[in-house]
């Protein structure tokens, strides 16, 4: 891979910074906030891998997050399965959802994929109330047994998961697979004419994206030791999309920065508390009009001195 040295150093510096934070702060609360930031990072970058690269925007990423979280919580609470089993089973459940939504819609041109993902996540959220005997309805499933007992260890575990996710997706995005996805975004007809099975590439990319989102969902459930129907919410899907926009679409690393920044923002602006989404929407409008390429990725590029 052809990555400038400055970019490598920058990435390592960011990693070292987050690895050293717990040495500076003793606040358990702040460690928790950062853990959630990392989980948001996993969600944002996995969204970007499918939607940012192919330009097919997924309006229901929460479907995969919720599928992962609920699967892990359900197995843990009903069958007392070892919490570590949550990770593979959660990812698998997310993949199944990805196939169900992706196969019928990604073959088609037009906005079908966006509409179907949006509707599927919203209906999944309603279903948690309909099947309340199994999902606990509005209260969700509380009292999960933790994956890792210590908060500090869990912090490092999530940081590690974020780093692994980002590296895997970056490698994929820079491989011939990623180039194909970008080509699909550029001109679907031309790709089809060149004999590329574009539906296959888009569906498999969605499945990869869903798997990582599902793992992120499991991590989130294990952080909160509970799941609620909010993991399926439209607001969550949209928050993730705004994070990707702020980070810079199609760059994989940008959304991680965007996620950490925006997840920290309400903590920094305590006063905004309940106005969080209001601020987010204004940020989104600002970016759409004045910085269509996002904020984080263009700044990184300028520092490193590469154009694309």
């Amino acid at each position: 891979m052809n990555i400038p040295n400055k970019a490598r150093i920058g990435g390592l510096a960011a990693l070292a910074f987050f690895a050293l934070v717990p040495l500076v702060t003793q606040s358990d609360y702040f460690i928790g906030v950062l853990t959630v930031c990392f989980i948001y990072g996993i969600w944002a970058t996995s969204w970007d891998f499918m939607s940012g690269l192919t330009g097919r925007e997924n309006f229901g990423h929460a479907l995969f997050i919720g599928a992962g979280a609920y699967t892990a919580a359900f197995l843990g609470s009903r069958f007392n399965v070892n919490p570590w089993w949550g990770l593979p089973t959660g990812a698998f459940a997310a993949v199944v959802c990805g196939v169900i939504v992706g196969v019928p819609t990604l073959r088609l041109k037009g906005p079908y994929f966006a509409l179907a993902t949006f509707a599927a996540a919203a209906i999944a959220q309603r279903s948690t109330r309909i099947f309340w005997e199994y999902t606990g309805g509005e209260e969700g499933i509380p009292g999960l047994s933790p994956l890792i007992g210590s908060h500090l260890a869990y912090y490092y575990f999530c940081l590690g998961a974020l780093v692994v996710t980002t590296i895997v997706l970056l490698v994929l995005a820079r491989s011939s697979w990623g180039i194909l996805l970008r080509a699909i975004r550029g001109d679907e007809a031309a790709c089809q004419a060149a004999g590329i099975n574009i539906a296959f590439y888009k569906i498999v990319s969605l499945v990869i994206s869903a798997a990582f989102a599902g793992v992120g969902g499991v991590l989130y459930a294990d952080y909160q030791l509970a799941v609620t129907p909010d993991v399926f919410s439209v607001v969550l899907s949209i928050t993730i999309m705004i994070m990707v926009y702020v980070g810079g679409m199609g760059t994989i690393y940008g959304p991680v920065g965007g996620a950490i920044l925006l997840a920290l923002l309400p903590e920094m602006l305590r006063a905004f508390g309940e106005y969080r989404l209001w601020v987010y929407s204004l940020v989104l409008i600002f970016i759409l009009f004045f910085a269509p390429g996002g904020l984080i990725a263009p700044i990184c590029r300028r520092i490193v001195g590469v154009r694309r």
């Binding site: 169900i100 019928p104 079908y112 509409l115 509707a119 309603r126 279903s127």
Partner: protein
């Protein structure tokens, strides 16, 4: 017999509401290729405007309803003009800006009115009793107004110069432009029309459904589903699909497993996309 009559009446009311929502949504998509995620916000804004005018400003209900619909129509025009038009070069940006508008609406309502649901007075207090069945006048009014709105809309599109221009743009934008049709103004008009029709649904259902900040989401998802089933951009298609979904949901609601109502639309969407992606009456192949 009793159940059958119930299904017949309530299914018709539900279908009328769905049709009003879906027709506007499919109209703006067919003409401007805008997938308007703020459509649910139009519906909600109509209901809230009626609430403010009747409860806070003590207007009588009928002028308040008309004013609310006109207000939302104007809101649609302004939104198209100020927010959507500058971003039209990118379909994704348009999608995101309409999303931002719907978020802003929801949050603004949370901040202004709180999350509890509000009540709007009924337009008519009359209740029809027929064959042992009580139907509130408000629902009957919704059904009647819905049918009238759809007929008027159809007459506009089928019989006026404005309608011809709308059809021309949806068939071939560039050709229409060369014929001297002011594309940008037409986009604003259609957005305003679509917003106003959604607001009519919002105002009419406000007395018997809940008025709260997130009220726009579910109707919008229903509108999506109907539009996919009926065929994106096809107005007769969305009316047909509205009837289909409205009635199947009502039937399921009276079945032994009423909780499944929510799943009907998702199932219909999946089946449509697998079997006939262009939708029931969609002309353009979706592949």
């Amino acid at each position: 017999m009793h159940t059958l009559l119930n299904i017949l009446v309530y299914g018709a009311v539900t279908s009328a509401i769905y049709a009003m929502l879906a027709v506007g949504f499919t109209l703006i998509f067919g003409v401007a290729r805008v997938l308007n995620l703020a459509h649910g916000a139009f519906y909600g804004l109509g209901a809230y405007a009626a609430y403010v005018l009747t409860i806070d400003l003590h207007w009588p209900i009928f002028p308040a309803a008309v004013a609310a619909v006109l207000f939302v129509g104007a809101f649609g025009v302004v939104m198209e003009r100020v927010l959507v038009r500058p971003l039209r070069h990118s379909a994704l940006a348009v999608l995101m800006i309409t999303l931002a508008v719907s978020l802003l609406f929801e949050q603004a309502m949370f901040i202004l009115f709180g999350s509890q649901s509000r009540n709007v007075p009924s337009f008519v207090s009359y209740t029809l009793t027929y064959a042992g069945l009580d139907i509130s006048g408000q629902r009957l009014l919704t059904l009647a107004v819905g049918i009238v709105v759809l007929i008027v809309l159809y007459a506009i599109i089928d019989g006026t110069r404005l309608g011809s221009a709308i059809l021309a743009i949806s068939q071939d934008r560039e050709a229409a432009q060369y014929m001297g049709i002011p594309i940008n103004r037409m986009y604003s008009v259609v957005m305003g029309l679509s917003a106003a029709v959604a607001a009519v649904a919002g105002v009419l259902t406000a007395p018997f459904l809940t008025v709260q900040p997130t009220m726009g989401l579910l109707p919008m998802i229903k509108a999506f589903s109907i539009v996919i089933v009926g065929g994106l951009g096809s107005i007769p298609g969305s009316i047909l699909a509205a009837l289909l979904l409205g009635y199947s949901e009502t039937i399921v609601a009276y079945s032994p497993w009423p909780a499944a109502t929510e799943i009907v639309s998702l199932l219909a969407v999946l089946l449509t996309l697998i079997l006939r992606p262009a939708g029931l009456l969609g002309k353009r192949a979706a592949f």
